[in-house]
């Protein structure tokens, strides 16, 4: 009876996910193996095209750079936030939540104003005389990475503040009382305990960057095409749905593989796990 009630109550949500997420996404993937040209033709086409390989490689580069920078900045900032006095901590958390809840279009648009040809950074540099002509900063890999780091640092900071606050104070006091310098405590106690949280955060940032659309579209444009923008272009501009489905399948496989692999790694590396 109880088993029955549990299933009944979870059925509507299960149906929603199965019928409108799992089945449509599987159908998208299946069509790439059922083309007239043979089961693997779309994939041979994808990896046989130099342009598409470049796009995939660029996406990986941008995502790795975004992840590395966000992890380092996020971890150091979260450390300071977690050790701040109560009132300051609240302000800093508010300052991190605010951009997090502000949409991706607004946040990317802000960088469009900053990095544009007549943008704020260029006018500031021109007025100080550091440069004679405006720099072309938009539509570069740097612009995309900067805006993506901007997108993901709040997420990283908030994830890691939670992780760092969960480290018992006793451990740090024990470390100090046994004679460890603050830097040694940081490297040998705090960092290893934060590794699982760092991995979870890094996975969120990597998969988010790998499948991003709005930010690379606005700040990278055609010149910096990535998997997300290429998929949109194939689906909605050239209407090549087999090609778009192939890109979708590659994104799904890479995303899920990374999530599964890294959660396993995180579990193994957790020094608190027994």
């Amino acid at each position: 009876m109880k088993r029955f009630a549990g299933w009944t109550l979870s059925t509507p949500a299960t149906l929603l996910v199965v019928v409108f997420l799992i089945l449509p996404v599987l159908a998208t993937i299946v069509t790439t193996f059922a083309t007239a040209a043979g089961p693997f033709a779309p994939y041979l086409g994808f990896f046989g095209s130099g342009f598409r390989r470049t796009v995939l490689w660029r996406t990986i580069q941008v995502s790795l750079a975004t992840t590395a920078i966000s992890v380092i900045i996020g971890f150091l900032t979260a450390y300071v936030v977690s050790r701040s006095p109560g009132w300051l901590k609240s302000i800093l958390i508010i300052a991190a939540v605010f951009p997090l809840l502000t949409g991706v279009v607004v946040r990317s648009f802000a960088w469009l104003i900053i990095l544009g040809k007549n943008g704020i950074l260029n006018s500031a540099l021109l007025s100080t005389g550091l440069i004679a002509e405006p720099l072309s900063m938009l539509y570069t890999q740097g612009a995309v990475i900067t805006a993506m780091v901007y997108l993901f640092v709040p997420l990283m900071v908030l994830t890691l503040v939670g992780v760092l606050e969960a480290i018992p104070d006793d451990l740090l006091q024990a470390s100090a009382s046994l004679g460890a310098r603050p830097s040694a405590t940081f490297m040998q106690v705090i960092l290893p305990l934060a590794v699982p949280g760092l991995i979870v955060g890094a996975v969120l940032v990597f998969t988010g960057s790998f499948t991003a659309y709005a930010t690379p579209q606005l700040l990278g444009g055609e010149a910096q095409m990535v998997m997300g923008t290429l998929m949109y272009q194939q689906a909605m501009v050239t209407f090549d749905w087999v090609s778009a489905s192939t890109i979708a399948a590659i994104m799904v496989v890479i995303t899920i593989a990374i999530v599964l692999l890294m959660t396993r790694v995180a579990r193994r590396l957790n020094p608190m796990a027994t």
């Binding site: 409108f20 997420l21 007549n118 499948t211 489905s245 979708a248």
Partner: protein
């Protein structure tokens, strides 16, 4: 006990927070500028770009569409998500572990892939109206938030209270509405507002499910930006930031903002 933090780390943190908040301050300044181009610091103060939003029919229409979709999808996610979260907590032992993974699946599947798949295999194949597909896509997008937030508040709920009511003769459904829901009220409110803002801000699902006649606000902002580079987009952005402030105030009152650092 206070631990000293290296001054270099403090300086870095200050820079990081300038980096986080600065760009949004710039958007606010640009929105208030009295110029016909985007600039910061603002030259002259004016609210005319805010008025301009409502003079453009496409913005008026997409604001309404975005609100409709956010209300409907959040409503659907709550109607299916609250019982699911309840079942996951109440019948934890009887239900298989993969069931909770199923409800966070929308987070694992890239949004672009979901949007495209809904266009290809639901809207096109079964001639489902685009609006319906948009609502379904957004319901899936926000379902994980609903299940997670409600589960978090149910974890603190003592189910023996519910059993006491039932053993005293209260019908199950009545118990749900009079005992359980009031106890997780703040969780439901927080789930609602988080889901709502997530839906309002979505680009990656909506981008495939809009076209002539139907669009959402973020997609309209992207379309406007391609043609004009005037402060209208900055003022729409400020409106959205205002919504963020309202959401944060509401979350602070229900779950507390430390919820985000968990």
């Amino acid at each position: 006990m206070t631990r000293s933090i290296h001054p270099v780390l403090i300086a870095l943190t200050v820079l990081v927070f300038i980096f986080l908040v600065g760009p949004l301050v710039i958007v606010l300044g640009a929105a208030l500028s009295d110029t016909s181009y985007l600039t910061f610091p603002p030259q002259g103060l004016s609210l005319r770009w805010f008025e301009n939003i409502f003079e453009i029919e496409a913005f008026r229409r997409t604001i309404v569409t975005s609100l409709e979709i956010a209300f409907l999808s959040t409503g659907i996610a709550l109607v299916v998500g609250v019982p699911a979260a309840y079942a996951l907590n109440r019948y934890r032992i009887q239900l298989p572990g993969w069931l909770s993974t199923l409800f966070i699946l929308p987070v694992l599947v890239p949004e672009l892939v979901l949007g495209f798949s809904l266009l290809k295999n639901v809207a096109t194949q079964f001639h489902a109206p685009i609006f319906v597909s948009l609502v379904l896509g957004h319901s899936l997008l926000v379902l994980p938030y609903v299940v997670r937030v409600i589960s978090a508040s149910l974890a603190a709920f003592d189910f023996s209270i519910e059993e006491a009511a039932i053993s005293l003769g209260s019908p199950r459904l009545k118990t749900f509405f009079t005992i359980l829901l009031p106890n997780v009220r703040s969780g439901v409110i927080a789930a609602f507002i988080l889901a709502f803002i997530t839906s309002i801000n979505d680009v990656s699902i909506s981008i495939f499910l809009t076209g002539p006649g139907i669009s959402t606000l973020p997609i309209q902002i992207l379309a406007h930006m391609e043609q004009f580079f005037d402060p209208t987009v900055a003022s729409v952005s400020v409106l959205l930031m205002g919504l963020t402030v309202a959401v944060m105030a509401a979350v602070e009152r229900t779950l507390g903002l430390t919820f985000f650092a968990k």
